[in-house]
């Protein structure tokens, strides 16, 4: 139970941490100043959520590690984020499609998790849900604007959808970790979130005049520590300081 709760918490934390890290790469490179600020604000929310979750994971583990140890000193196969969030930023359309798929999942997920039997996970979900609503509104509006925009923007957002949709199914990945905690009212039955997820996806796609790719190809592995080639590069940058100067503090 303790091990499962540790893994379960890390899976949620790592999605936030890695997407936050990816978004922060936009700092100073946003297409317009307002968007630069928006992307880094969202990154900050996600890294804040990751901090709360990693602190809790460290406490559950009870081996004297802290949130920073977990964030910066694990090896690649010890991170349990979905492969979706580690995908490269690409152009602005890729970043926004990645964000939109993720936000559309996170909304019903946090709505459910705030009623978890685990009080700390419930509290973090309640807090994070309010922030996620802003994120979802932002990413959804961009998908619509780009999809229903110019020929160029529609092409780019459509290409991004082709590139990333195959990673969306992993958000619903469940294994024994989930099942053990579900029996105690802690974990969420992710299958039960699919209708809300699909409905929101279609709602936005319709307004964006976009369609999901025909391909039924699905990828997963991140939840059990198997990552795509981009992930090692991300970690190299994220962990550099702690690896080069162990235990340094800001």
């Amino acid at each position: 139970m303790k091990n499962s709760l540790f893994t379960y918490t890390l899976r949620i934390a790592d999605d936030s941490l890695i997407l936050g890290q990816r978004l922060s790469e936009w700092c100073g490179h946003g297409p317009i100043i307002e968007e630069d600020i928006a992307l880094t604000n969202i990154a900050l929310d996600l890294i804040g959520q990751a901090t709360s979750l990693l602190e809790y994971a460290a406490q559950v583990e009870g081996k004297g590690r802290n949130a920073d140890d977990l964030a910066f000193l694990r090896f690649e196969n010890q991170y349990f984020n979905t492969q979706l969030v580690e995908q490269k930023n690409g152009d602005f359309a890729v970043t926004m499609v990645r964000q939109w798929i993720f936000d559309t999942f996170r909304l019903p997920f946090y709505e459910a998790l705030q009623h978890s039997a685990d009080k700390q996970l419930a509290a973090i979900a309640e807090k994070s849900l309010k922030e996620t609503k802003y994120h979802w509104k932002h990413s959804s509006e961009w998908i619509i604007r780009m999809g229903d925009g110019t020929e160029e923007s529609a092409k780019r957002v459509n290409d991004a959808l082709q590139l990333l949709w195959k990673f969306s199914d992993e958000l619903f990945f469940m294994d024994d970790v989930d099942r053990e905690l579900m029996s105690q009212g802690i974990a969420i039955d992710l299958e039960s979130l699919r209708p809300a997820f699909n409905e929101r996806i279609q709602f936005v796609l319709q307004q964006a005049t976009l369609q999901l790719p025909d391909s039924k190809w699905k990828l997963n592995g991140g939840r059990v520590g198997r990552h795509t080639e981009h992930f090692g590069h991300l970690l190299a940058e994220m962990q550099y300081m702690q690896r080069a100067y162990p235990n340094m503090e800001w």
Partner: protein, 162 residues
């Protein structure tokens, strides 16, 4: 023994590091105060946003003020639930914000409405309601960026969080 009421009043002197006209009490981030002994107190705080980088400074500032008032040990407890909302901001706090040039939070439609009308936010400079949102996200996590269509001044809006 020092009373909890006294501790609350001391905390009114602790400014928020990002918006120094507001005290931590005005913001509503101090949720509870517990006097343990003559020299020891526990303060429960809640973050405005998960990633608010000011939380460490806020703890430091609270500790400094309470130590100045004779406490020796100040312990902190972070409560995430119930989650902070702008509804907890005091009326006095909203007036101070406005005077400082930041539009205080107003009632907003549900965030899940796409392309909904932005809330009517009065310009803190000229009072005009003819304003527009430039960006949902602003200089800090808690603010959005607006501009007045009449006096043309851009301004910060302390956005509603519920």
């Amino acid at each position: 023994m020092v009373s909890e009421t006294a501790i609350w009043s001391y905390l009114e002197e602790v400014p928020d590091p990002e918006v120094p006209v507001l005290s931590v009490i005005d913001l509503g981030i101090v949720r509870a105060v517990k006097v343990i002994s003559d020299t020891e107190v526990e303060v429960t705080i809640t973050p405005t946003y998960s990633g608010c980088p000011a939380m460490n400074y806020i703890e430091k500032n609270i500790r400094e003020v309470l130590i100045e008032k004779g406490m020796k040990t100040v312990r902190f407890h972070t409560a995430l639930s119930p989650a902070w909302t702008t509804d907890w901001m005091s009326e006095a706090g909203k007036k101070k914000l406005l005077a400082y040039g930041i539009a205080p939070p107003v009632n907003e439609a549900d965030k899940l409405t796409l392309f909904g009308e932005s809330p009517v936010v009065k310009c803190p400079q000229c009072g005009s309601e003819n304003t527009k949102m430039l960006s949902q996200f602003g200089s800090t996590a808690c603010k959005a960026l607006y501009q007045c269509n009449d006096c043309l001044e851009p301004f910060d809006y302390f956005k509603c969080l519920r």
